[in-house]
Amino acid sequence: MSQRRRLAISRPVTGACGKTGSWRVFSPLIDREKCNACGLCAMYCPEAAISEDLAIDYDFCKGCGICANECPKKAVSMEREDK
């Protein structure tokens, strides 16, 4: 066991690469009036930052805009971050 501990084994943690939400220039915002809950935005988000009930995790969303681009209802707008 003591030998094992010396091996370079990384452990899984949330935020292993920092809070990537700070990368964002534009933020996705879902208009619930226009949204029909098809789930395509959540399916295509590379970061899995959109939950089943369509809540966006802004701590990690990188602002790529794929969700807005793929939304068939044009329900996602990309709003400039005021920093």
Binding site: A8, I9, S10, R11, P12, V13, T14, G15, A16, C17, G18, T20, W23, M43, Y44, P46, E47, A48, A49, E52, D57, D59, F60, K62, G63, C64, G65, I66, A68, N69, E70, M78
Partner: protein, 293 residues
């Protein structure tokens, strides 16, 4: 097909570029593979984005190995696991440089030995991690940092090389079609023996398009016939729905090429050769599907 599980095996978040197609691909690969999986990853974007010691965003065992040895490591790992009576999936997740150039002899050896594993090449068509140098998988005419005037050689036909090993299952995929990708990984893992999936993974900084277009670019690749979705199961070819439709009514290749900065200034001859190559591939696959070859 089983329903796509909610479980995520990549914890928020990796350090991949915004809009990374390779990450979107891996998200679905792991959903299909499930918890009892070991990923073997040679040097590539994926080995970097997983995080730095002592932390990782990947919530399954990952073995990082030297470039040329991924398939050889996976071979030993699979043999040891099977000898211990374990069914754990062994999956190599390697880039195109690590596959078509550097790892190809180990890949060939593992396929010839009949290793029980799945080899996945996620193809961003260059050496992404080190700054987009050309690889054997870079398409004709594409600008990379080492082909500033556009590559003068066509893309190496990796799938034909793998097919020559007659694996029980091989397929192509693209993260713009996540359900199709999920199903293919499930199917590959249901076979014993070496299986292979080649995933075209759009890469915003490398291909020079803006980050929101990753899925759109993948769909364009398929709809223009520049990428064909198909499977080869026990030698039998099936062209998948989106590519079948594209073979009947393809979009012009220019729609895909013009959308990417890397094809800026591409010559008319290069475009015409790419179209000819795509048409020849479509014809060959259609013949194989009908059993004429």
């Amino acid at each position: 097909m089983t329903e796509i599980p909610r479980e995520e095996y990549i914890l928020k978040c990796t350090s991949a570029c915004a809009g990374c197609g390779g990450t979107l691909s891996l998200r679905y690969v792991l959903k299909a593979a499930g918890r009892d999986t070991i990923l073997v990853v040679p040097a590539c974007c994926t080995s970097v984005i997983q995080g730095t010691y002592p932390n990782t965003a990947f919530n399954i065992p990952v073995y990082n190995v030297a470039f040329a040895s991924a398939a050889a490591c996976a071979s030993g790992m699979s043999t040891a696991l099977r000898a211990a009576g374990k069914k754990t999936h062994v999956i190599v997740y390697a880039g195109d440089g690590g596959t078509v150039d550097i790892g190809i002899q180990a890949l060939s050896g593992a396929f010839e030995r009949g290793t029980d594993f799945l080899y996945i090449c996620y193809d961003n068509e260059a050496y992404g991690n080190t700054g987009m140098q050309r690889s054997g998988a870079t398409p004709l005419g594409a600008r990379t940092t080492t082909t500033p005037a556009g590559k003068t050689q066509p893309k190496k036909d990796l799938d034909a090389i793998v097919a020559a090993h007659k694996p029980p299952y091989m397929a192509t995929a693209c993260p713009a079609y996540p359900k199709d990708l999920f199903q293919k990984v499930e199917k590959a893992l249901s076979y014993r023996g070496p299986t292979f999936i080649h995933i075209l993974s759009p890469c915003p900084p490398g291909w020079r398009f803006s980050t929101e277009k990753t899925v759109e670019m993948g769909k364009l690749a398929v709809r223009t016939g520049m990428w064909v979705l198909y499977e080869r199961e026990q030698g039998k070819v099936t062209i998948n729905g989106p590519s079948k439709a594209a073979m009947v009514k393809p979009l012009p290749a220019e729609e895909y090429l013009r959308a990417q900065g890397r094809f800026g200034g591409i010559s008319a001859e290069a475009v015409s050769r790419m179209k000819d190559d795509a048409a020849a591939l479509a014809q060959r696959l259609q013949k194989e599907e009908k059993g004429i070859c």
